[in-house]
């Protein structure tokens, strides 16, 4: 009776550790996986640009990225766009890419602003707020600064001045 009992005890305690560990582990890790945060990899996507070509996040692997979400209904977003353009001009020779994802608006307003502001970085069109939800956006503008190694260095949920953008872009180039 003695040894059999001991085996049963050990088995049960091991099960408790495994199951309990799983349960507690779930609570510790579950919350983070929903919305990408600093240090995570940005979720992949495939979207059309204004010419009708498909761009995937994977196409930009290995490059420092600025992913910004904007809409024509959001004045601070509009104010930021020319600033992003200037930064893009400055750093594109070093490999910086700017992806400006529009928040599921119609063709025309997006085209109008791109033309008016003379934007030549990649402007992508989100559809049905899908990518917006994936990235867990709560307000706009929201900008993700992604290092060449693929991890998010910083998330800014506010309008930035050009100096603020510049500072963060510079950090992306640091080793």
């Amino acid at each position: 009776m003695g040894t059999a009992r001991k085996k049963v005890q050990v088995v049960i305690l091991i099960l408790v550790l495994l199951i309990g560990g799983f349960a507690i582990g779930q609570t510790l890790f579950k919350e983070k996986s929903k919305v990408p945060g600093v240090g995570d990899q940005p979720p992949g996507f495939s979207l059309f640009d204004l010419k009708g070509e498909v761009h995937s996040l994977a196409d930009y692997k290995g490059k420092p990225l600025v992913i910004t979400f904007w809409g024509t209904f959001c004045p601070p977003c509009i104010r930021e766009l020319p600033e992003f353009q200037r930064q893009y001009d400055k750093w594109k020779s070093e490999g910086l890419e700017v992806l400006a994802i529009n928040l599921s608006e119609a063709d025309l307003p997006v085209q109008n602003y791109v033309q008016r502001l003379n934007l030549n970085f990649t402007v992508l069109r989100d559809v049905n707020r899908k990518v917006e939800r994936m990235y867990g956006l709560r307000s706009y503008p929201t900008t993700f600064f992604v290092k060449p190694d693929g991890n998010i260095a910083e998330i800014v949920v506010a309008e930035m001045s050009e100096e603020q953008i510049q500072k963060r872009v510079e950090k992306l180039f640091e080793p």
């Binding site: 003695g2 305690l13 309990g20 609570t27 608006e105 307003p109």
Partner: protein, 550 residues
């Protein structure tokens, strides 16, 4: 190695046995006392005691203790109370990081920092539940096996001290034949559904033994329940999301290969007659229903450039308590938005001077074409504003991406107009047209031309948007099974009581003892009844031999 304790009846008991497993004679400390016997688990040793308990034994003992279990229950209780002080995070629409401090001050801030804003899925709360689960398993195993052994091999003739130290006792002389007396008692007891065993002039009557297993079955049910709850967090077994589908549209259910269509949405409101005075005039929905169709994507599902190929798999009229159900996936009616929105308008271009009408042309509110040929005129759409307003710099802009106040800027070319074209700002909504003074804005062109919609038949309003809650919960059936088993255990344990009566004769004196796990009041009444039928009148109260009674 463990020591044995050999009883005077010849049986070997384990160390820690309180009453001899065979004859019931009190052992060890129990022998010395005169109090009613400790009858828990029939006095068997619950676990083998060793001189040096190792780590495993110590952990096992910890979880096996009822005292610890009670502490765990109370701590869980108090923790649960804490979670009700302020609204939990999962109920909030606002951002938790600011909500608590803003609405409840410093206490709110502390509440949030301590993690109490998500008490019920915090790691320490889950730890408490895991510990309770462990306690359930170990407490039960530790007790049920010895109890089963003890109850399965009961001796009929018990030691005299065993009988006289029960909590319900009768002793006294008997007139006449002992065998006859035993027979009469046995007969009466059988009427009360006892199983009677006799051995000479000793008798053991027992009923409702099954009720002793009740608590253990209850615990098994609870364990299954907890495991099922835990299983829900295994990926793939659980989904809970909302999808908004405007009438007539088919939307993707993200994360699955399914699409759902809102074929038709209807809502009925309570009439004023059906409402009490205080609620008359309010729009209180009585019934709302979505005729839904579920599709599965079979090809081209993630291709951005192609339309997914869909195959219908289920159909259902979803109402509030009646979801669409398909292979574990369920679509519940959650809410709706019946405010009518413009979807399409078909305006005409009117030459005010000649009175001619050209068109109509189809203007999709959200995604319009950019060029329209209307009679001899060409309309080029230059700008589109979903919610027209004047920005801080005085320029037209849009306040949102929802068509709350749509406006369209056309450049019109054609006969009667300048060669480079003239601008015309068109507001489909009458209210907006008046608010923004469309005619004054358009200045001279407004005297000569007008774009407007003739009649409601040229306006298409979007149907209601239905909000469906898509859920998958494969582990849920096991939750119900666990709950059912738990209930069965509770009912078994609380509504029947395990009763046993022993009696023996020693030189003409009858000694009768009775024991039950609950409800000694009833036990005494029953014993008094049986004795009465055998010719001995007693008051139930007089049978009480003291001792703690659960």
């Amino acid at each position: 190695m463990f020591q044995n304790t050999k009883c005077e009846c010849g049986h070997q008991n384990h160390v820690g046995t309180v009453l001899c497993e065979s004859c019931g004679k009190p052992l060890g400390e129990e022998l010395l006392s005169d109090e009613p016997l400790e009858m828990r688990y029939d006095g068997v040793a619950r676990r083998s005691q060793k001189a040096n308990p190792n780590l495993i034994d110590k952990i096992w003992s910890f979880f096996s203790s009822v005292k610890i279990a009670v502490y765990l229950i109370i701590i869980t209780l108090l923790a649960s109370v804490l979670g009700t002080i302020f609204t939990q995070e999962n109920m909030l629409t606002e951002d938790p990081a600011t909500y608590y401090e803003m609405n409840h001050g410093t206490i709110g801030k502390i509440y949030y920092m301590l993690g109490l804003s998500h008490t019920y899925n915090s790691w320490w709360y889950i730890t408490l539940l895991v510990m309770i689960g462990t306690s359930l398993v170990i407490c039960s195993l530790d007790r049920v096996l010895p109890l089963y052994r003890a109850l399965s091999k009961q001796q009929i003739r018990k030691h005299l001290r065993f009988i006289t130290r029960q909590k319900v006792v009768y002793t006294g002389p008997i007139e006449g034949s002992e065998e006859q007396f035993v027979e009469r008692i046995a007969e009466q007891l059988k009427k009360k559904r006892y199983k009677v065993h006799t051995e000479g002039t000793a008798l053991l009557a027992e009923k409702n033994r099954f009720s002793r297993w009740g608590p253990y079955i209850n615990h098994i049910g609870l364990i299954l329940f907890l495991l099922a709850v835990l299983a829900r967090s295994i990926p793939g077994l659980h989904m809970d999301m909302y999808v908004a589908v405007p009438e007539g549209q088919t939307n993707e259910i993200e994360g699955t290969e399914y699409y759902i269509k809102n074929e038709k949405f209807t809502v009925n409101y309570y009439t004023d007659d059906e409402l009490p005075d205080s609620l008359k005039g309010t729009a209180r929905p009585k019934l709302y229903e979505t005729k839904a169709v579920l599709y599965r994507c079979v090809e081209d599902c993630n291709e951005l450039t192609k339309e997914p190929v869909l195959e219908e798999v289920a159909r259902h009229d979803i109402v509030l308590n009646d979801p669409l159900s398909y292979e574990g996936l369920k679509a519940y009616q959650s809410g709706f938005d019946a405010t009518p929105r413009l979807e399409l308008v078909k305006p005409v271009l009117i030459n005010k001077q000649t009175g001619e009408e050209f068109g109509p042309f189809e203007l999709d509110i959200r995604n319009p074409q950019t060029t329209f040929q209307v009679g001899p005129y060409t309309l080029n759409l230059r700008s589109q504003y979903m919610e027209f307003a004047y920005g801080s710099n005085g320029e037209p802009t849009t306040l949102s991406r929802e068509p709350n106040a749509p406006a369209y800027l056309f450049i019109i070319t054609g006969p009667g107009l300048k060669e480079e074209g003239e601008a015309y700002l068109y507001f489909p909504n009458q209210i907006d047209k008046l608010q923004f003074n469309q005619d004054a804005l358009n200045r001279s062109i407004a005297d000569r031309f007008e774009i407007k919609v003739n009649g409601m038949e040229n306006v298409k309003l979007s149907g209601a948007i239905t909000y469906l809650n898509i859920r998958k919960d494969s582990a849920v059936p096991y939750i119900w099974i666990g709950a059912a088993i738990s209930m069965i255990g509770l009912i078994m344990g609380f509504y029947w009581h395990h009763r046993r009566i022993w009696l023996r004769f020693d030189q003409g004196t009858l000694s009768l003892g009775a024991h039950t796990n609950k409800n000694f009041y009833g036990m005494r009444s029953e014993v008094a009844w049986v004795l009465g039928k055998a010719g001995i009148e007693v008051e139930p109260k007089s049978l009480d031999n003291g001792g703690n009674k659960t």
